[in-house]
Symmetry: C2
Subunit: 412 residues, 2 copies
C-alpha cells in the first residue's frame, strides 16, 4: 500500500512556509508500513488541483491533501476532491455544532462563511478537529482512500494521530520499525566509511545515513509484522554500530542532545547552572525545552556586558582587562562563577563572537570559548565555527552540551 | 514562465527532513516573476524520477531538481535527467580539479567515487559549488531548462544565488514585488474581515492572508517591470491597511518581533534586562538572535528556583510564600528586581507553568504572568496559553515582546 501527500496552498509555492505537514505525515505513514512515493504541492487553484488529483489517483492508493479546509473562498480542497469523485456536499450537523461551540468558547460569534466547513459528501468519515474549526474527512472511492486534512500543523497532527491513524492502521497490515542513531563529533563521510559494509548488502534491516544540522544520523529500518520481530531484526545491527562508534552516538530516535544531558544529570544526581555570553540564552532555552528540566537546572545568567560578568559571576576585572571578554580565562571564570554563586554541582559557560560585527584578526567571528566547572576545577575548549549568527550560536551550544554529556558519562 | 521544483531523496519521503530547499527556491523564483505551480518530491528511485520528469516536462518550463548529486550509488538525479534527455555524461575536468582541491583543503584525499560528481552532459552549463563538492548544472532541451542542484541547503542556496539566479534573470523579463505585513494580537478571521474588500476585486496588486505560528501576515504582491513601479503599486494598499490595523501591524517583510523590539530600544535610547522563569532563556535567546542586541540588552537571568529568584532578583520570600512563584506579584517583583540589579532602564519578566507537569486546578498548565518595569513602576498581564511546552514558551515570549513593543511605542 502506498500513499501520496498533496499539500494545497499558494503560500507553499511562494515559499512563505515550508511543507512541514508532509514531513510529519511521512513519518507517521512510514511507521504504519505505508510507503510514501510522492509529495506534491499545488496552489489554491481548482484546475491544477484537479490535474494533481488525477495523477495521484493513477499512481497511489491513499491520497492525502493538507490545507484548504478553512472558511474562505480560497479554501477549496474538500470541494475539489468531491468534484473529482463526483460527490455532492451536504451539511454535517454535528460538525456545525462543534464549530459554533468553538466560537462561543472563545467569546466570539460564528460568522456565516464558517458553515462551509461543516459541508461534506454524504458517506464521508468525518475526522473531528479538537484544536481548530475545520473538520477533515475520509472519502472512499474506486478502492482508494482520499483523506482531507487541515493545514495548520497543530490541527493536522492532532487530527491525524487521533482520527486518521487508527483508520489507516486498520487498512495496513505490516509495519516498518526503525531506530535512529544520533551521532555528534564525526563527519558524515567518516561515519559512512566506518559502517560502509553495513550500508550495502543489507535487505532487512536496511541502514541509511542522513546529515542534519551539526549532526549525522543513521537509520536502521526493518519490515516485520510485529514490534518484537522488528526489534529482533534491528538489535544486532544497532549493537554492531555502537561497538564501532562508541560515545560518538549521543542518542536514539527522538532524543535531542539537551534531553540526553538532562537525563544524565538526573541519573548522576548533579545540578547545573549556566553562564552565557555569545549564546545569549540559547543554552538555557534548549535545556528548559526538556520537560522536568527544573529538577536539574538551578539557574542561568546571560551576561552580555562586562559589568554583568563581574557583578553576577564574579569574573575578575583584571582577567577581562588582560585577556578580554572572549578568552579562555574569562570562560573558565564564568563557569566557576556561576557554579559558586548558584551553588550548583556543575557550571558551564560560553563566551565568543557570534557576529556579524565584533570580529578582529586576532578574534574573528566564530571564535567561541566554552567551559565546564565542577568541585575539582574548570576546563575550557576553543571553537572556530562557521556560518551566520544563528548557526554560530547553535554550533557553540551543541558543542558545549556534547562536552557536558561526555563529562557526565565519565563520572562514576 | 513557470517552474517546478522536484525534490529528490528518500529522506524527504520518510519525513527525516523537511523540504526547505523548495521553500527557498520558491521565494527566489517568485522574486524573479517566475510562477511556481508545483513542487514534487520523489525518492532515490530511477523509474519514479523518470515518471516525475515526464509529468514535469508536460506542464512546466523550468524544471529544477534538488538533491541526489553526491558521490554515492543512491545519488542519481543528474544521471536520470541526462537519460531522460537522451544525453551522455562526460568528464568536466575543471570540476574534478575543484573537487580534488576541496578534499586537499580539508586535509583529505579524494576517493574514487567522487569522480562521478564531475561528470556532465557535454553542453551543460556547470554551476560551481563553492561550499561543497557536487557541482550543479543547467541542461537546455526542447525549449525548457533542466537545472540540477545539490540537496544540502547551504550548498543549494549559495549555488542558486550566485550561479542559477543570474541565468534565470536573463530568461525572465518581469518581476514580482511584494510586501508582507506582520500582525500580532488579532485573529486570522478578524483580520480577513477588516480587509475583506481588498481581498476580492484586486488584480494588481493582489492581497493574500496567511496564518503563521501566533501571528497573521498579509502579503501584497504586484507584477511590474521595475522595482519603482512595483513600489508605487504596493504603497496605496499598504497605507490603507495600516490605517485599518494600526499598531497591530508589528513589522514588515523579514522583520521579526525581536528585531522590531531591538530597533525600538535603540531608537528610544533604552536598555533592557530580562528575568525568566517558565520561558527558560527563550526571551534572551530571541533578543540575542538580533545582530547588535548587545547595544541594548544588558543581561538576562533564568531563575527557575525560588532561591535564584530571591538571590538574583531580590524577590521577597514573603511574596513567594503568599502568592507562589507563578503569580502576578512575583512577576512584578522579578521585572523590578532585574531592572534594579542590572541597572537597566527597563526590566521584563515571565513566570508560569509550561507543562507538561506542574499544573493544578488553580494554576493550570499554560498560565503565565508577564511583567514590564520602568522607573515609574511595573505592570503585569495574565496569559492563558494552549499547546505543549514549546508552544507555551513561544506564546509567552511573543506576548511579552509585543507588550514591550507597545510600551516602547508609547514613549515620547
Amino acid at each position: 500500500m502506498n500513499a501520496e501527500i498533496i499539500g494545497v496552498g499558494s503560500e507553499l509555492l511562494l515559499g512563505q512556509i515550508s511543507n512541514t505537514d508532509a514531513q510529519y505525515l511521512s513519518r507517521q505513514l512510514s511507521s504504519l508500513g505505508i510507503d510514501v512515493y510522492w509529495h506534491t504541492v499545488v496552489g489554491d487553484n481548482r484546475d491544477r488541483l484537479l490535474r494533481t488529483l488525477r495523477i495521484a489517483s493513477d499512481r497511489s492508493d491513499i491520497i492525502i491533501t493538507t490545507g484548504g479546509l478553512g472558511p474562505t473562498m480560497d479554501d477549496l480542497s474538500k470541494e475539489t476532491v468531491a468534484t473529482f469523485l463526483g460527490l455532492d456536499l451536504v451539511l454535517h450537523q454535528p460538525s456545525l455544532e462543534r464549530i459554533r461551540n468553538h466560537f462561543s468558547a472563545m467569546g466570539r460569534t460564528m460568522t456565516k462563511n464558517n458553515v462551509k466547513q461543516a459541508m461534506f459528501p454524504k458517506d464521508s468519515i468525518i475526522l473531528q478537529n479538537d484544536i481548530g474549526t475545520a473538520p477533515g474527512a475520509v472519502m472512499e472511492a474506486n478502492g482508494k482512500s482520499y483523506i482531507v486534512l487541515p493545514g495548520p500543523p497543530s490541527e493536522l497532527q492532532h487530527m491525524f494521530d487521533h482520527y486518521a491513524f487508527p483508520y489507516l492502521k486498520r487498512k495496513s497490515g505490516q509495519g516498518i520499525y526503525s531506530r535512529v542513531l544520533r551521532i555528534y563529533g564525526i563527519g558524515e563521510s567518516a561515519v559512512e566509511e566506518m559502517v560502509k559494509d553495513l550500508l550495502v548488502n543489507q535487505k532487512n534491516p536496511t541502514l541509511a545515513p542522513l546529515i542534519g544540522v551539526g549532526e549525522v544520523t543513521l537509520r536502521i529500518t526493518a519490515k516485520s509484522s510485529s514490534p518484537e520481530e522488528g526489534e529482533a531484526l534491528i538489535r544486532p545491527m544497532e549493537q554492531e554500530i555502537e561497538k564501532r562508534l562508541g560515545t560518538a552516538i549521543y542518542g536514539f530516535d527522538e532524543d535531542r542532545m539537551e534531553s540526553v544531558v538532562v537525563n544524565l544529570l538526573r541519573e548522576k544526581g548533579r545540578t547545573l547552572s549556566v553562564a552565557e555570553s555569545c549564546t545569549g540564552g540559547l543554552v538555557s532555552n534548549r535545556i528548559t525545552n526538556v520537560p522536568g528540566a527544573s529538577d536539574v537546572l538551578l539557574e542561568g545568567c546571560v551576561t552580555y556586558s562586562n559589568q554583568a560578568k563581574i557583578a553576577r559571576l564574579g569574573v575578575s576585572p583584571k582577567t577581562l582587562k588582560t585577556y578580554g571578554a572572549v578568552s579562555r580565562q574569562t570562560a573558565l571564570e564564568m563557569a566557576e562563577g556561576i557554579r559558586k554563586t548558584s551553588k550548583s554541582d556543575i557550571g558551564i559557560a560560553t563566551t565568543g563572537i557570534a557576529g556579524p560585527g565584533g570580529g578582529s584578526p586576532q578574534k574573528p567571528v566564530g571564535l567561541v570559548h566554552i567551559a565546564i566547572a565542577d568541585q575539582n576545577g574548570a576546563s575550557a575548549k576553543e571553537l572556530h565555527l562557521d556560518g551566520d549568527r544563528i548557526l554560530i550560536k547553535n554550533g557553540a551550544v551543541m558543542h558545549l552540551l556534547n562536552e557536558l554529556r561526555l563529562y557526565l558519562l565519565s563520572l562514576k
